[in-house]
Amino acid sequence: MNYLIAAYIATWVIHGTYLTILARKYSKIQREIKSLKK
């Protein structure tokens, strides 16, 4: 059962990490757009 839980958690950690990277990229682009508008 521990291996099963570990595999499912690992899957969501990997997807979560990628989504966090995308969210940070989005914030960076938002900042760049703001600085372009100034």
Partner: protein, 229 residues
């Protein structure tokens, strides 16, 4: 298109929750492996999704090489990136399953080794795109993607044509999967396909905006340079 995004997000969340419930509660327990076999409901759909994304990357790369279409280039980048994420899931969940079943985390079996090579090819592809400053980067990346895609059928068919330690195909010819297990597998695959589509959609829009911002920044730098003369 804008209205479709929240709908797809809700459908994805519902399918993922339902898939998780089916995999953990509804699917029958396998006789020899027990509960650890349930890793299969995440491992196999992730692999199929990764293969599909690498196939999209191949088609988009060929399209880019023929037509030099920027949209095809963005699609190739996005599909490779999301494909690597799903392939990472495959490479992580596989050893977690193998440890209690085979007694080892990893073996240099043909299927496993080819999957690792596939992952390395697409990581190299992404690194090339990230760090190369040449104007020819999209062309070089597209050529790499075309060769990289050759590994996808090798990985897929390796268990059909060669005797490997990896379990034999459970679906299609010679497959003996319990229909209830096949049902749960397909639900989870549908959920992962929706997730992949959602993430690709987001990443595609992000890449389009990023390229527009970079264009505007270089134009601004050009204008500032002209103004200071």
């Amino acid at each position: 298109m804008k209205r479709g995004f929240p709908i797809l997000a809700i459908v994805t969340a519902l399918l993922l929750s339902f898939g998780l419930y089916e995999a953990l509660i509804v699917a029958p327990t396998e006789r020899t492996m027990g509960d650890v076999q349930r890793i299969f409901y995440y491992h196999v759909p992730s692999a199929w999704t990764a293969f599909l994304l690498f196939l999209i990357n191949f088609v988009a790369s060929v399209t880019y090489l023929i037509r030099r279409n920027a949209k095809a280039d963005i699609l190739a980048l996005v599909s490779a990136e999301v494909g690597v994420v799903f392939c990472t899931v495959v490479l992580v969940t596989g050893p977690i399953w193998a440890r209690p079943v085979w007694g080892i985390w990893w073996t240099w079996d043909l299927r496993l080794t080819l999957t690792l090579v596939l992952w390395l090819i697409y990581v190299s592809y992404l690194m090339l795109r990230r760090f190369s400053t040449s104007s020819q980067t999209p062309v070089m990346a597209a050529v790499l993607a075309v060769f990289g895609a050759l590994d996808v059928p090798l990985v897929y068919f390796s268990i059909w044509f060669f005797r490997t330690q990896h379990p034999s195909p459970v679906i299609g010819d010679g497959g003996s999967l319990d229909p209830r297990m096949a049902h749960v597998l397909l639900i989870n695959w549908a959920a992962f396909l929706c997730l992949a589509w959602l993430v690709c959609w987001t990443r595609y829009r992000l890449e389009v905006v990023q390229r527009e911002v970079e264009e505007a920044q270089s134009l601004e730098a050009l204008l500032e340079g002209d103004g200071s003369r």
